[in-house]
């Protein structure tokens, strides 16, 4: 893993509180995998003190560009949203293990919830060469990134809690209705914990392999602080360095 000063190529609002940023770094684009993340220092001050862990969402090797999507939640991400093209950010990465992608001739479901849809883009791009990819995207109200998913997906299901676009309700419900017809035999999921827990249960019930990308508050991002430890059937594991991607069958989800 590297500590790099990276130039920001673009930083723009997509919808509401979701932003897209392009960061230039040749080394990280070469090393980075779908499901890994970056630790970004949003300024050179003591506040915010910690870096912000943000998933690698797309890698454009030719342009030496890493694309990240992030949601403005607190002070740190607010400051990140104010960074201008040409500015330099200090970045540690790529961090974490990433998704296991060595598959062929599978019927794969990608299930994303909220900002959790973004890390599935690079994954879908890589998997769609040799597999059939079905994407299921869940949002609260406004939707984004559907066009990106259309590029590599055999079909797309979209849900919004508000009902503004697509199915009114939770994305897991669309997936449940289709999983038999589409003969899904592999699941990748990223999103809020209750969603992942439900998907893990469905996967278990239907005997389908399932990888989930988890999120926890963390300080370092490289395994030192033990802030992001979770319970698994193999004992305590760190979301940052043992994950963030785990087999759903090994995670013991919190209540």
């Amino acid at each position: 893993m590297l500590i790099e000063n990276c130039r920001v190529k673009k930083n723009e609002k997509i919808i509401e509180d979701i932003y897209k940023m392009e960061i230039i770094n040749e080394q990280i684009t070469k090393l980075g995998k779908a499901g890994q993340f970056l630790q970004i220092k949003v300024n050179n001050q003591d506040t915010p003190l910690l870096r912000r862990p943000i998933s690698i969402n797309e890698i454009k090797i030719d342009e030496k560009v890493i694309v990240i999507y992030y949601k403005v939640i607190g002070k740190g991400t607010k400051l990140l949203s104010e960074v201008k093209s040409g500015e330099i950010l200090n970045v540690i990465g790529p961090l974490g293990t990433g998704f296991e992608t060595n598959y062929e001739e599978k019927s794969i479901a990608l299930i994303g919830g909220g900002i959790g849809v973004a890390p599935l883009i690079e994954l879908g791009k890589r998997l769609s060469d040799r597999n059939k990819v079905y994407s299921y995207l869940g949002f609260a109200d406004n939707t984004y990134l559907e066009e990106e998913f259309k590029k590599f997906s055999t079909s797309i299901g979209v849900s919004t809690v508000s009902g503004r676009v697509g199915y009114k309700g939770l994305v897991v419900d669309i997936f449940k209705n289709e999983l038999i017809d589409k003969k899904i035999d592999l699941i990748f999921a990223c999103g809020p914990n209750p969603m992942l827990r439900e998907i893990a249960e469905i996967a278990k019930l239907n005997n389908i392999e399932c990888q989930v990308s988890l999120e926890e508050r963390m300080a370092c991002g490289f395994g030192a602080c033990l802030g992001c430890s979770i319970k698994t059937i193999h004992g305590m594991k760190k979301v940052c360095s043992d994950g963030p991607v785990f087999w759903s069958s090994e995670v013991i989800f919190n209540d």
Partner: protein
């Protein structure tokens, strides 16, 4: 280090090559930082806090960010002292690292048993943690009463021939009294300070951000408190002090040495810049040259108070 400079310091009978060590709980067992730095360059590593039996720690969230600081409620997640001796210590020693094992117990007997186990190993020193704010038994409960501190230090002293450093809690009325008790009980050195007990709240959910409700505050926010405590304690004890609390620059290090610390630990800053220790070592050497300091010990305690 340049030959003409002396950076060797003594921390209670243990001589270390330079005064820069790392605070327990911020550096794992060293391996996590090997992707970034040569860990043998450090004065020493205070390894992740150990208990007699493995501990899972507290539920998440365990981290909350605050102004110029962070709260943690990890709760001493660790694989236990025997695992450390078998799987982590040999590796660190093979790398030439000075290893200070940090121990926490639920009872005096547990501290003594851990010392017995560590005494037959290549551990260079023991840091006795009587100041963890995140565990129900032991921890800070031992560290806030001067009579208990005296008794526990006296008993643990009998269980080890290694240099014994006692890590003190800032969550006390008068840290000088606690420090004197540790010295009287036989401590060879003192580490101060551990984290300050704090809290952060999510006003939307009306819940604390930490699942443990409260946690230990660290980072630049606590540096003034740490400096004040090191200064106060250095005036009432004769044993070396390892100063820590929010250090992230070479100026911070100098401040701690001036108020009486013989060595320092870097903690939270490691999370933000995993190369901070070796960066600061270079800067310290540069500072010494620029300010014509031949021996780093020459500035220890040289503050000129009003």
């Amino acid at each position: 280090m340049t030959k003409s400079l002396n950076t060797t310091v003594d921390i209670g009978g243990l001589r270390i090559n330079n005064p820069i060590t790392v605070a327990s709980g911020t550096f794992g067992f060293g391996r996590e930082y090997e992707n970034f730095i040569d860990i043998s360059k450090l004065g020493g590593i205070m390894a992740k806090g150990l208990t007699l039996k493995p501990r899972e720690g507290n539920p998440t969230p365990r981290i909350a960010e605050t102004s110029s600081g962070m709260l943690n409620s990890v709760g001493l997640e660790n694989p236990g002292v025997e695992y450390f001796v078998k799987n982590e210590l040999p590796y660190l020693k093979s790398k030439g690292v000075t290893v200070i094992a940090n121990i926490s117990g639920n009872t005096v007997e547990e501290y003594c048993e851990m010392c017995n186990i560590l005494d037959n190993t290549k551990t260079d020193a023991i840091e006795m943690n009587i100041s963890c704010p995140n565990v129900k038994q032991g921890g800070v409960a031992f560290g806030t009463d001067k009579d208990i501190v005296y008794n526990i230090t006296k008993e643990v002293r009998k269980s080890t021939n290694k240099p014994l450093i006692v890590k003190l809690s800032p969550n006390v009325t008068d840290i000088r009294e606690i420090a004197k008790s540790a010295q009287k009980g036989g401590a060879d050195g003192l580490s101060l300070i551990n984290t300050l007990l704090g809290m952060a709240v999510n006003i939307k959910s009306r819940r604390p951000i930490l699942r443990n409700n409260v946690g230990g505050l660290s980072g630049p926010a606590i540096k003034p408190v740490a400096l004040r405590m090191v200064w106060q304690v250095s005036q009432v004890v004769d044993i070396p002090i390892i100063g820590m609390g929010g250090i992230s620059t070479v100026e911070d290090i100098i401040e701690f040495l001036l108020v009486g610390a013989s060595a320092i630990s870097i903690g939270t800053a490691n999370f933000i810049n995993p190369r901070v220790t070796t960066d600061l070592l270079k800067e310290l050497e540069k500072y010494m040259i620029e300010n014509e300091i031949k021996d780093i010990n020459d500035i220890v305690g040289k503050i000129k108070p009003y």
